[in-house]
Symmetry: C2
């Protein structure tokens, strides 16, 4: 797929645990035949882009949620799960600046699952679909012996060339929508309810974890400015997802921890649990905010315009650097700090 990829990683005798999710994707990409001319963005991005018909772009994305891997019944209702399953796909379409349109749900489910539970799951999905004008048009239902497995596929439209992970240039500003670390703070406080954090803050954090807001309008607004050079949604955490932009754009990045937008509720939870809020913001994942890059002289105007159109804050958190510098996070003294990588499946 990409002639400059390194050789297929992984010895065939190794287990997936050693190769990791990213190693597997790289391995498959190397083995893929050359895609047809209609394929504009293929395997390796969260959202595929094809010309369909000749002069239009069709976006397709799919995501699986596995019980006890992506969610636990102890910390989320099935209504939350249905909502989140669609939200993570909406977020993938948002990261292309696309317009979500049609959803399919493939549901594998234990036979002893209650009908009332499934009603809740569909209700969560449909109440998330409605404000975006997304139709649930099909799917599949089948038996899973052990646990719920949901796969949603979402089709969307784009009215211009795709905004991918691959366009960042050294010197570009790095920006992010909303706040970071709220989902990780929500999970931590659901698992270990802390004393001394206001109930309203705990509810806000639980909601950030259970009901992330896909930034669909923000993605379209960012794209419409014409000034963004690369974009991705924050599903695996800032460190990992910025790493994806760096890898696909063949650049490095420098982020100032002091610039990261972190909510008061997240800070309060971090204090109460003796955690560092910036660790959640950098490595927590599942915030489903949009991370994007733009030319430095246009970044502030672009951010202001997106905020004016959507009401969502946009924060400049760092700059794109040459590839040789790697992806670096700097503390208040300007010193690089070691960051925990975000979530990677199989590892």
């Amino acid at each position: 797929m990409d002639g400059e990829d390194p050789d297929s990683p992984g010895d065939p005798a190794t287990a997936l645990r050693e190769l990791g999710e990213l190693g597997l994707i790289q391995r498959v990409r190397r083995r893929l035949p050359r895609p047809g001319p209609a394929v504009r963005v293929g395997l390796g991005d969260d959202t595929a882009v094809v010309e369909w018909p000749a002069d239009r772009l069709l976006l397709l994305t799919t995501d699986t949620l596995v019980e006890d891997v992506h969610f636990r019944r102890a910390t989320a209702t099935l209504r939350d799960v249905g909502a989140k399953a669609l939200a993570v796909n909406l977020s993938d379409i948002a990261a292309m600046g696309g317009e979500p349109r049609f959803a399919l749900l493939a549901l594998a489910c234990p036979p002893d699952c209650g009908v009332a539970d499934l009603d809740e799951l569909y209700a969560g999905l449909l109440e998330t679909a409605a404000p975006h004008g997304v139709d649930l048009i099909g799917g599949d239902t089948c038996t899973a012996p052990d646990r719920l497995v949901l796969t949603i596929t979402l089709a969307g439209a784009a009215d211009g060339p795709p905004l991918t992970r691959g366009g960042a240039r050294p010197g570009d500003a790095i920006l992010v929508t909303g706040t970071l670390g709220g989902s990780a703070a929500g999970l931590a406080t659901l698992e270990r309810p802390p004393a001394g954090v206001p109930a309203g803050a705990l509810a806000e954090l639980a909601r950030a974890h259970r009901r992330p807001t896909p930034r669909v309008a923000e993605g379209r607004a960012i794209r419409a400015t014409g000034g963004a050079t690369a974009m991705i949604d924050l599903s695996d955490g800032l460190a990992t997802d910025l790493g994806h932009i760096a890898a696909e754009s063949r650049v490095g990045a420098r982020v100032r921890l002091a610039s990261l937008p972190v909510s008061d509720a997240t800070r309060a939870a971090a204090r109460a649990l003796r955690e560092e809020a910036w660790t959640w913001a950098v490595s927590g994942g599942e915030d489903y905010e949009l991370l994007f890059t733009a030319a430095p002289d246009r970044a502030d105007a672009l951010a202001a315009r997106v905020t004016a159109e959507t009401g969502t804050r946009v924060t400049r958190i760092g700059e794109v650097r040459p590839a040789g510098e790697g992806v670096v996070f700097l503390d208040e003294a300007g010193q690089p700090v070691a960051v925990r990588p975000g979530f990677e499946h199989f590892k």
Copy 2:
């Protein structure tokens, strides 16, 4: 979705096991908001059809395969599984007379899975995609604690109005491509290898089970005749899938068992295992042949034309009847026989 559906079946307190797959689908359809104007075929069919853009039709279908539900490592290699996962989706597009184009694979996999096994899975998928010109454009990979779960989504095109399950009229002929019962015979002989069946026949049956041939060219040829009134692919078995046409078309059906196309290999396996070949043909499922209906005076010419274009036999097996007569299978004496229903998930 359909104002004439019966009331939502299933008490919320019941388990999915009691409601069954079809009950669940009916229940969800009743709760779905009115779909947008672009949705031509929505939830309830194997393949959704949307207008995209205004004057074109986009087909979308998704199917999940779960290890130890849809396949077992004892009777199929992962290369077979990858091939079959795409084939069942190709078959859904074929049943609309559509042209398959783009595939996404969402793969949930235990971390101890070997990389060589996954290479085989992708190889099977890609070797099935290639002859149909299908591009693998994206997907998702994640951890599954217990077993492999594959979900493929396939997008396709159609160059005219969709051919659904809903157009059969009393008096229409019922036709089927290829032969029936081969997949069930293949599974039975893999599980209980019989004495006295030629090795070539056993290999043919094993292949029918492991590597079903999606009837993509046949589906397009059937549709191109303009004479077919309804169509479905045979995934759950003739009895169940003809039942779907009957339900959606609000008709009955009469099928002569003596007319069913059954291969010599299937007959030999049935004799050796003391089974009845017609039971496999009617209730076995997973043949992935196309079942369709056509006006009686056009049916034979239509069948001859499809065979001439594709080399695949087409057999007239019965006729559509008024709804009140139900779906009936007749023995050689013209007497109705009791048939085992095909596979239904959760029950």
